[in-house]
Subunit: 425 residues, 2 copies
């Protein structure tokens, strides 16, 4: 892992960079220089600026390119009034490397990390790579998406869980990631608490959703369910999860899928990742009516999203269970091979595990949907619908579905049932 002689240049070890000072910084970071092919003449540097929390610079030179991401000690889109530890860059780097080792096809390579400066340099995913959320808004099909994301989730979650690891290794890793406490705190606040109470950070399409928002605050059964999900999030160290796996953390082309931005990663419930993805797919689905126009009624595309939802879970299920079977002799802590010593027993254990995981995932999917409609951070899927009334209608249907899903998630037995329920909304 590289480091620069930052003590000289930046007495406190940290300085917020900009497009100009970044050039100087790069000169003193050999690994970045080498990613740029050694040629620092005529560098083009552009801050991307569509992220909420951090600064991302795209650096392109004549012989190579690189993305440089810097975390500042506060939340970018709010400002210095909302401090947030820049150590999040350290955890992002750790997980890019760990998930990258487990699933190199779907995680960009990290070239360089500087802890004091909270800087990660990684592979630049050039166009035609685009943020998945933007592709979904544009109505573009990604035929391999479910295949790729199920592969990413199955591998990263399985291999960091007690299905594969010893409790000893697991506890050591869990302890390390407990340091990412401020990022977890942000999730606890904006996903699990604020949407269910009066909070000055909440926003919604007013006045259309005023009564919906109020009814969430008064929905006893919803609040009981979300409290259970919150406790699961806070207490259950099931696997090293990405922690922010929405469609804005995925970059895609027709043939390739790359997961970025795991700065919220920690050992938490697997369902939080799976649910983030499924929930954001469902939001994309309900937003389609707002994007329909005379040239495209989006009906075919809506069906593709539904297929993707169903495939994502089903492929994840199959890949995850395959990894379990293939690694049975390794004997992770949870199901030792000499206790789980018959095929029947393993099948029963797997069925129970996958059923519980499905229910967790649906609960978290619902929580992630709700918070994107009535909480602090909204999604472009809806924000880009300029007709406010249309947008509010899409949001209302999403909310209605999400509330039902959170309350009845344990009744769902398959992804097919999930898709039917979406269609019935």
């Amino acid at each position: 892992m590289g480091s620069i002689p930052s003590d000289d240049k930046y007495p406190l070890g940290f300085k917020a960079l900009d497009e100009n000072s970044l050039v100087e910084y790069i000169k003193s970071a050999p690994q970045i220089v080498s990613a740029l092919g050694g040629d620092l003449n005529e560098l083009s540097i552009k801050e991307v600026g569509d992220g909420n929390l951090n600064f991302v610079y795209i650096v392109v030179g004549p012989s190579g390119s690189v993305v440089v991401k810097q975390a500042l000690p506060y939340i970018r889109c709010v400002g210095e009034s909302w401090p947030l530890s820049k150590e999040r860059a350290f955890f992002e780097m750790l997980t890019l490397k760990r998930h990258g080792a487990l699933c190199p096809t779907h995680v960009p390579e990290v070239y360089y990390f500087d802890r004091a400066m909270a800087i990660i340099a990684m592979r630049y995913l050039k166009p035609p790579y685009v943020i998945l959320r933007k592709g979904l808004i544009a109505g573009i099909e990604y035929p391999l998406l479910a295949q790729h994301m199920s592969e990413y989730m199955a591998r990263t979650l399985f291999f960091t869980s007690l299905l594969y690891c010893s409790a000893k290794d697991h506890r050591n890793s869990v302890a390390k990631f407990l340091g990412n406490v401020e990022q977890c705190g942000l999730t606890e606040l904006v996903v699990f608490s604020d949407p269910y109470r009066l909070s000055s950070s909440n926003r919604w399409s007013s006045p259309y959703l005023d009564t919906d928002v109020q009814s969430i605050r008064e929905d006893i059964h919803l609040k009981l369910e979300v409290a259970q999900l919150k406790s699961l999030f806070c207490e259950r160290a099931q696997a090293l999860i990405h922690g922010d796996l929405h469609t804005g953390s995925i970059m895609v082309t027709e043939n390739s899928t790359q997961v970025i931005d795991p700065e919220f990663s920690f050992y938490g419930p697997m369902g939080f990742d799976i649910g983030a993805l499924l929930g954001n797919f469902i939001l994309a689905y309900f937003a389609q009516d707002g994007h329909a126009d005379e040239s495209n009624d989006r009906q075919v595309y809506k069906q593709w999203i539904l297929n993707t939802i169903e495939d994502t879970w089903n492929l994840f299920h199959d890949k995850f269970v395959s990894l379990w079977n293939e690694n049975n002799h390794i004997s992770g802590e949870a199901y030792p091979a000499d206790v789980f010593n018959t095929p029947q027993l393993n099948i029963l254990a797997q069925n129970k595990y996958m059923q519980d995981l499905f229910h967790d995932s649906l609960g978290f999917a619902a929580a992630k949907m709700i918070r994107r409609i009535v909480g602090i951070a909204h999604v472009e899927d809806f924000e880009s619908i300029h007709n406010v009334q249309k947008r509010a209608y899409c949001e209302q249907r999403s909310l209605q579905f999400a509330k039902m899903l959170m309350k009845t998630r344990n009744k769902f037995e398959s992804a097919t049932q999930l898709v039917s329920a979406i269609l019935q909304t």
Copy 2:
């Protein structure tokens, strides 16, 4: 916290003491000297030696007394062939202090700790204090036991959970205790794995229990349940639990109850502590027939144990819920006061929480019973029944009950039902 100039005396910072070298050690530890009233003449030092893992010295002088406990880097009752980190003394000390601060009436005071030497000096619980297990075998009633133990469990578990703490404080504490990984590993092995497979450490009353032991290894549903409990133990950081709360970790008189020996403590599921206690009470109950003789048929005493079981859960329930209500304004992470803002909502949340906790507790109670009959470490309740056939009969009934309990725990709705089920065995 004290420390001795051990670098001089013990070049490696650690030395296993004995009754002779302990005197020299004490001289260089002012806090121990002061607990002994400053008078080191005519010290009586006796190693107690009834513990499985560590060495415990009772030191009595003319002006004071103290217990000195030392952890060696292996398991005492096995020997150097089974290494075990002496850091367990550090975690024992931490929890004696933390639980002691939360419930001073039921935890002995710590006078001194030396991390390199793995030594804790604490209050000597003089006779008539006796290890509770011995009292239960002797058929002695402790009228305040349920009251005291429910108080201890309610306070230590509530105040170290997310019902009271912020997620931030909680995660920091969880991380600290993840260092006690070797002790957790021992539990995972001897409680959750070995009893359910062939293992050279397992022992049982052979040949009487041979088929019972085999049928456990072949009991699919039991093995599925125990795997779930094991995952809960490994993954769920619910509260700072004692980790070894059997009747051999409690010292009692008629009026006082003291909890010792939290060397297995970590952030785990609350039900593991409650279950350890209930499970060991149930073992004591089933052992009574083996202790009955012409002078005492133990029928009255059996009823007292049943009452104690019922009272322990019911009082725990009430005290725990009271703490929840009293501290509602503090707003722990799990149920923020401005989300859980009506009495009805709080009652529903409490009912669900307590019901889940009851079921967890029954599952762990069953696991703790089973492992004491077919695993490595047995209990004096049965071991002291010299008629082997009688002992095997008591063990068989315990096993039968524990298997049923583990498999059907979620159907139990009250401690009364638990007691009825015991009576029906």
